[in-house]
Symmetry: C2
């Protein structure tokens, strides 16, 4: 059975503060204390808090995008198409280099020849961390709304690129101000240093997870030597 | 269209460090710089990092639970049933008090009379932040595996309680050690203070979101006075 995130539902339990004035989720602590039989719940609570933060942001994103007729997944795709298009128009690069770690040309993909910008469904899937089938559905939605279009890939007759349309850019322009308001609201009271600290702590989880998976995915050492 | 979290897919882009040595996601920064047209991306990056942290934890949770045949959603339900059962056995309380903020009796629900512990599907849904229909499916799974059972609610002939079985407790006992290893891996390098700091920063998002939604859900002020 697949666990499906329902962003319409409550994200977290009643919050309280510990002796140092730091927030904790009373319901999570009760459940985790039961699970660990009174052992240390700190890591489990931090993991649960990361989940709750995701749900909190997702609820506000959904709130913001649903009013404008797009799922948050479709919005992700549109933002990536927008970045690819603009970057591509400025500095055409080879899209094959998806392992680039500088971050500046990561999203870039252009035809080079005619200046057409766009990304393949596969590139969008990798960039968004979702399946190609999922991205195809999201692109269908964007195309139906006139915000993106499919066009032939000049580099490869069998391939199709997805590009943002002028209407798509206009949609994002209109979405920029409400997004800034939503971000200001959800990060109310955060200093720039706290924002960077939150980002850093969250991405340390990602760094650890990437290292673990690399280890898990590593082929087993053969028992015998040649 | 519903955006469905696919925990099998990559969670984040290549990471790099800023001038202060703090991690950032190069792909997210590129996309958000395009979206803000070169404006401040700090809040958007922090929000994206919270999402990525959730995905990272979820991938490891899924990895841990799938090997043992349970989705992470079913595991959540089992942990809550476990906490309710144990708390209920010790101190029977009235389940109606679901707004209790002490956290100690929050998950508790017992018949009082015969010492039977359990939670209704509605209570499980509220506690887990998912829909009742979702919880029903998860309880079906747990019951099929013999880890939980439905039983009549002695307080209400029309109601059904869900309770953890001895096999369910044994399952959790066996799951405790691998969970502790997974948590140790995903939080590798975190001091207790950093764990609490991550929890606190994440829950500040939740606090802000709860306040915003309270405001959004508030009924409009009438234009005229009586």
């Amino acid at each position: 059975m697949k666990y499906v995130h329902k962003s319409e539902e409550p994200a977290a339990g009643p919050l309280d503060r510990d002796a140092e004035g730091r927030l904790y989720d009373t319901r999570v602590r009760a459940a985790m204390t039961g699970f660990t039989r009174g052992g240390d719940t700190l890591a489990l609570e931090a993991a649960a808090a990361a989940r709750s933060a995701f749900h909190a942001v997702e609820r506000l994103r959904t709130h913001g995008t649903q009013g404008r007729g797009l799922s948050s997944g479709a919005l992700d795709v549109l933002i990536r198409l927008n970045a690819a298009g603009e970057a591509g128009a400025a500095t055409p690069t080879d899209t094959a280099d998806t392992t680039d770690t500088t971050g500046t040309t990561e999203m870039t993909s252009t035809s080079g020849a005619v200046g057409t910008s766009g990304l393949t469904v596969g590139e969008l899937a990798r960039a968004g961390g979702v399946s190609s089938r999922n991205v195809t559905g999201l692109v269908d939605t964007l195309e139906r709304e006139g915000l993106a279009r499919r066009l032939p890939d000049p580099r490869d007759r069998r391939a199709v690129l997805v590009a943002i349309t002028p209407d798509g850019r206009a949609w994002l322009d209109a979405f920029r101000a409400p997004t800034e308001r939503a971000m200001a609201a959800v990060f109310h009271g955060f200093s720039p240093d706290e924002l960077a600290q939150l980002r850093h702590l969250c991405l340390r989880l990602v760094e650890n997870q990437q290292r673990i998976e690399q280890y898990l995915d590593r082929p087993q050492q053969p028992d015998t030597k040649p």
